[in-house]
Amino acid sequence: MTDELPRTDTATSAAGRDPYPAAGQPLLRIEGVAKTFGTFRAVDGVSLDIKAGEFFALLGPSGCGKTTLLRMLAGFETPDEGRILLGGKDIAQALPHERPINMMFQNYALFPHLSVRDNIAFGLKRAGMARADIATRVAEMVALVKLEGLEKRRPDQLSGGQRQRVALARALARRPQLLLLDEPLAALDKKLRESTQGELMELQRRLGMTFIIVTHDQEEAMTMASRIGVMKAGKLAQVASPRELYEAPRSRWIAEFVGDINLFDGESKLRDGHRLVIGTRDAGALVVAEPREPIGTGRFAVAIRPEKVKLSRRGPVSEAGRETVINRLDGVIADICYLGGTTTYKVKLDTGGMLQASVANSARIDVDAYSLNQNVVAWFTPDDCVVLPS
């Protein structure tokens, strides 16, 4: 993908497309959108603003309503309530072919009776573009997704990765204001998926287009998106940057859904300046930093990501000097899971609970690796903990 793609040209206006809004400008506003199928409320009052140039991911388990929301943006479903504003215009009732939005389908939905070229040209012909301009644009798209030489092939003569590229080229050809991607990489194997993730990100950045991707794969969402909306049971549970989502999940459910996490239920006991002490059943009293939004008293869960937990044989001697307060838990290694780059240890705490610790394998020959049934000290700082409503 070396050719630079011109951002606006005569073909764009021939296709009836407005030039893209400048990056950072509000592009899409979803206002209280809801959709019910029978008695099932698939999307339940979702509001969301998306700026031009964003790479936004809708993340959630299957059945959470993310695909229905995407289909309402494409026009395949009509919302029962709410508005969808694109560049200030309500498009909630507009038909799919009237929207300056294109979609890349989950199984690509390439037209089996048309060649690669005709698949890519399909949308351009519908826009009434001149024949010569179509040829230029198709050639551009073919080069963009590196499919040179395959223009005359039919979809069934292509590999999965090539089909994925045709689908992308076809959806990009009309230069949509908004590109929707429905699980675009689900059908690819792991290696290809990872390289394609990188290519999609680069493409999005270079074209300055706005992408909304639907995925159930949190790693995929974290890798590619600049912002993630986590959906649960038809509602947006949290909208945040990947980092914020991971480090400051808003609820226990999100904390568990995004990545691995240790959770200890307990009650707040006392407040010490900006520190909070929470008495947990499984891990004793834990000192945590006071959350940004003050919380009352009652039941809470203390959450610590496995990679924030440090292990040592004798306890945090050197660090203890610098850190005044520290959570120190004694236990025994109960399970070892070697993952290559990291090793995950399960520590059976003397207080009764289980604690997961993820340790980077920074040396090839690690004489300090822990073995099963070894006594260890697990420790972490108050700032590494997140307090969540239980």
Partner: protein
């Protein structure tokens, strides 16, 4: 190893079974018909000559071979009755097949888009007429279409006509009968291709800016062509040779080839001419079949 041998023989037999069937019930009768078509009418039993008599010796047999001629085929070409009958058969078959496609396609399309549960119900509704004998259903149409039949009663009651319309013994009645009888054969293959079509394809077309009619003509219809081909053949071929429906519902002033054949065979006792007519009909019907097979093979090769 022994188990393989046990299964090998029946398996080999199963492979040749269709050929045995074809030879026994198609090629042998075809040879008889071909032979009769090359013979001459005679007032005798059987009503044609020469007759191959294997007991009469070599000379008699070669004499019988020498007596065969293609006169009957010449007659078919020179006699207006036959030419008209062929043309009429093809015209009726083409018109009826076109009507069937026009009526069957929307029905099949609608069926394929019903909720899964209702598709099964619709399928049963399409097939249910087969529970009644074909002949009885055609006689039922005579009842409906006759002078004081149900159709005329309804039309009169609605004041759409002032006096009963003549339906029976008209081409209209015949087309009603043919379309009614053959509709399932058009609907089922169409439904099969439309139902297995991925709905995302139509969505993709509309997403790429195609209004509904373009979605249909550029995506749905081209992708349903295998079903259209199958449905058209399943209807066209038997309609060309149709005998019962035109005989019962159409007038007697212009006959289809099936009726002409019947007359020649049973009324005129002209077995040789009737046989020649049957062979020409077979050749005419083989053409679209071969064409379809060729197209299908090309499609399969492309998909491979």
């Amino acid at each position: 190893m022994s188990s393989r041998r046990i299964f090998a023989r029946p398996a080999r037999f199963a492979a040749i079974a269709p050929y045995v069937w074809m030879a026994l019930f198609f090629l042998v009768p075809f040879a008889f018909v071909l032979k009769i078509s090359l013979s001459q009418t005679a007032i005798a039993q059987p009503p044609y000559e020469p007759v191959f008599d294997l007991t009469a010796g070599w000379d008699a047999l070669s004499g019988a071979f020498a007596a065969l001629s293609i006169d009957n085929f010449r007659l078919l070409g020179s006699d207006d009755i036959y030419v008209f009958a062929y043309v009429r058969s093809l015209t009726v078959a083409i018109t009826a097949t076109a009507l069937l496609l026009l009526i069957g396609y929307p029905i099949a399309y609608g069926m394929a888009r019903l909720p899964k549960r209702w598709q099964a119900v619709a399928m049963v509704l399409v097939i249910v007429p087969f529970w009644t004998s074909f002949l009885i259903r055609i006689y039922a149409w005579i009842n409906i279409l006759q002078h004081d039949g149900l159709l005329n009663q309804i039309l009169l009651a609605l004041h759409l006509v002032s006096q009963p319309v003549v339906w029976l013994s008209t081409d209209t009645a015949m087309y009603i009968g043919i379309v009614y009888s053959y509709l399932p054969f058009m609907i089922l293959p169409l439904y099969a291709t439309l139902a297995k079509m991925e709905p995302a394809l139509e969505e993709a077309a509309s997403d790429l800016g195609a209004p509904p009619w373009q979605v249909f003509w550029l995506v749905t219809f081209p992708l349903s062509l295998p079903g259209v081909g199958a449905g058209v053949l399943l209807c066209f071929i038997p309609i060309v040779g149709e005998f019962v429906i035109p005989d019962l519902l159409a007038g007697s002033n212009s006959l289809m080839i099936g009726q002409t054949l019947w007359l020649e065979f049973f009324t005129n006792k002209g077995w040789p001419v009737a046989s020649a007519a049957a062979i020409v009909l077979l050749v005419v019907l083989l053409l679209p079949l071969l064409l379809y097979e060729r197209l299908q093979k090309r499609q399969l090769e492309r998909e491979r």
